[in-house]
């Protein structure tokens, strides 16, 4: 049965910037990011934690923002796709994905990019098998994954070459 929604205030850091808002307890983190903070780069693909489109970094760890409530992120530090490079100034990782023609429709892209950010921080020189294993929590329907895997490989090389950012 429906009950009156209760709300809480949430304070968090997103891409290094302090943000806050009043949110219903039941609101998912991805809806809070997209609707309340207007950070629409993070996408909603399945709302049950399988597709990975909504992947963001929570205190550095990749998480599904569709499986968390906004209130659970209170006091935490988040990184989203908007915190990387801009169209005029792509990060080396984004540049590598562009050069590998990594993506097509772009809907799954933010999730893959954030998953890759976390992967390369933890393992700067992953093998192809490690890359494919790591990306297996993200679904892409356009590419067959090969161009994404190539993008991760060249991003790793670019980061090793000191273009870390």
């Amino acid at each position: 049965m429906t009950t009156t929604p209760t709300t809480q205030s949430v304070q968090l850091t997103v891409n290094g910037v302090a943000r806050s808002g009043e949110t219903e307890n039941r609101k998912t983190l991805v809806d809070f990011l997209r609707d309340d903070l207007e950070l629409t780069g993070t996408h909603v693909g399945c709302e049950h934690g399988v597709c990975g489109a909504c992947t963001i970094l929570l205190d550095g760890e990749p998480v599904r923002s569709c499986l968390m409530l906004a209130v659970q992120a209170n006091g935490r530090s988040l990184e989203t796709i908007e915190g990387l490079g801009s169209p005029d100034d792509l990060s080396p990782l984004q540049q590598a994905f562009r050069e590998s023609h990594g993506f097509q429709c772009g809907f799954c892209t933010p999730g893959f990019v954030m998953t890759t950010v976390a992967l390369l921080r933890e393992n700067p020189d992953p093998s192809e098998a490690e890359i494919r294993h790591c990306l297996s929590g993200n679904l892409c329907r356009c590419t067959g994954y090969q161009s994404i895997v190539e993008g991760v490989k060249s991003a790793a090389l670019a980061l090793q070459a000191g273009e870390n950012r």
Binding site: P5, E47, H48, E82, G85, F97, H101, V113, R141
Partner: protein, 782 residues
Amino acid sequence: MTALSTAAGIGSTRTVGTAALRVEDLRILTGRGRYVDDLKFPGMLHAAFLRSPFAHARILSIDVSAALELPGVVGIFTGADMAARTTGIEPLVAPPGFRSEPVFGLAIDKVRLVGDPVAIVVADSRYIAEDACELIDIDYEQLEAIGTFEQALDPSGPKVFESLDSNIMLEMSNSYGEVDESFAEAELIVRRTFAQHRVAQVPMEGRGGVSHFDPESGNFVYYTGTQSPHSLKGYISQALGVPLEQTRVVNGDIGGAFGLKIATHREDVALCAASYWLGRPVKWIEDRNEHLLASGQAREERMELEAAVNRDGTILAMRGTMVLDQGAYPAVPFVGGGIVGLIATMMPGPYAFRGFAMSSQVVASNKCTYSAYRAPWAMETWARERMINVIAAELDLDPAAVRRKNFAANDGSVSMLSGATLLDNSCAQTLERVLELGEYDRLRTEQAAARAQGRCVGIGFATFIEGAPGPAAGRGLNEQSIARVEPDGQLSIFTTQAPNGQGHETTLAQIASDEMGIPIGNVKIYHGDTADTPYALIGTGGSRAATLASGSVLHSSRKLKANVLELAAEMLEANPSDLVIEDGLIHPIGVPTVHLTLAEVAARAYAEPADTSEPVLAEPTLTAEAAYDGGIGSWSAGTHFCHVEIDLQTGQVKILRYLVVEDCGRMINPAVVEGQVRGGVAQGVGEVLFEWSAYDDQANFLAGTFMDYLLPTASEVPRIDIEHLENEPNEEVFFRGVGEGGLLIAPAAITNAIEDALSPYGAQINDQYLPPAKILELAKVI
């Protein structure tokens, strides 16, 4: 003025044939794409659909009173509103004899599938709208449901549409050449029944839209993600009674479509109606469960096939019967079941049969709408390429030899039985090359050794032609474009394409910039807005862009260039034929120091020059239009090669090598071509090994989450190696489409490999879906 200061070497700005970086990626990679759920308007409301839990049931009553009392609920509409205040829509492109009832936005008297939309609830937030759905009270009377071909065809069974006397929506018979004579003469007749299971398109972005009716102006704008903006606009206008000229459809970025989004969906109509009646913008974004159960599904066909063959491997003829399950409601505007005609005309493919015949039935059931999915006619290629391997096994011949024996000449001397040209198709060449690259003979030797060690390995390959744009006969629809030089010298191109991942903003810019002689960065492609793009019934679909849209843009840019040169000639006091445009500068041939920019020409065309009293010229203008119809039509062609190993403990199929040799003429952008091919193959891997839109025999849907409907991941899709042959058709536009070929042929290559692997166990693969349990069953392990 443009920023071009240096005249580099001749043709240095040319990009056709190179993997030019995609324009789209700058926004996509930075989270700046604009997908439909990213839109927000002042006063915008949110919609949720209440859907049927039953496959087939009569609606006795609907009580929305409790839901309406929930704070935040603004409006609720049901089938009664749709019946009273909208017009049902009907397919525009359906074969003669196709039967249907008009389709409304919501179910009216009864529900016909699990997920049938029964009510649309509009509220301040999606959360509240979903709460309200739970407060709606509906009395249903459950009816017997149709979940199988046999139930659909049983004359005494229930009817999906009670105004029709049966569930057969269409019957069609096609017969070409000498069929009966060939069967009478044949040394052997080979029979098999092949079944393709129901799967779905599953773009990562589902359906959705923001319907924005402005009561003050009467203007109606529908922001959505459609492959076909103009046909959607027409249907919305018709269903709601809004004048066409006040209706507009606008796309942003689209997160994949694969054929699904070519349709006008019932939810489009209901959503637009709600906005129209409430006078407010309303957003609906499909969730994944709704998507899997009610957006669209494809590929449920069964074909009983027989082939008349001689012992030397000659295939004289094939004939068969086919039944296709269209689900409950027909797709609009393109009836899914209408594909049976194309299946029949395409099925002989690149082979020289003497006769071919197919009798087809399209039946309705209590399932989701059968809709277009990348290579919708794929049943013919799969069944044919399976049958050729069955024939080879029967005759103890190599499957490559049977293909070689039966390829039609490609010199124009032989046409398909249905009349289409086979001129210049390079199927035979792709087969030989892929066998060479795959080291077929060596693999066969190794296979024997592996089998001796108890390993289960198989090799399969299959050959296709892809209508790209296909034979001229019956294609009928041209592709228009508009090219315009803007006051700042930039080139704008307006296309009818509605890209959803294909990179047309890049590939069409490559064409236009090469033609005009300017850098690719000086071209912008406009698409997806009915207010400024030319009319097209289709939009993006049917692998039309590479040849038709590109050809159209090539011609509009070429016409515009002639206008630019005519104006420039007057300014430079030269002859237009003595001028060229290179690297963005217009100059006499061989004299790059005397030059004009496009911006300077635009200033002359658009504004009265300040330094003279000369008026703006009436003609020529800096806008040009062109249409292109694809000429005589031509084919993309290819052969896919697959090497598998099967684990007979687990039933898992591991693809050891996947190799493609394909020919799409000259490639505009090889990276885009390869992305299309690999994406299609990945969907083929999924279709055979993982994906099934499963229903039980009472049409209860069983695959409503991504834990039931399994998409292949980076761990399951193998590396796919591609080699391109670039035979150029003898036409002005040498680019051919590749959007559908990957998925068209991959299931045949994979299933042929699996049957080869399991041949020591006597396995026959007649059903395309081969999950581990089925593999173990075929291998007689379980």
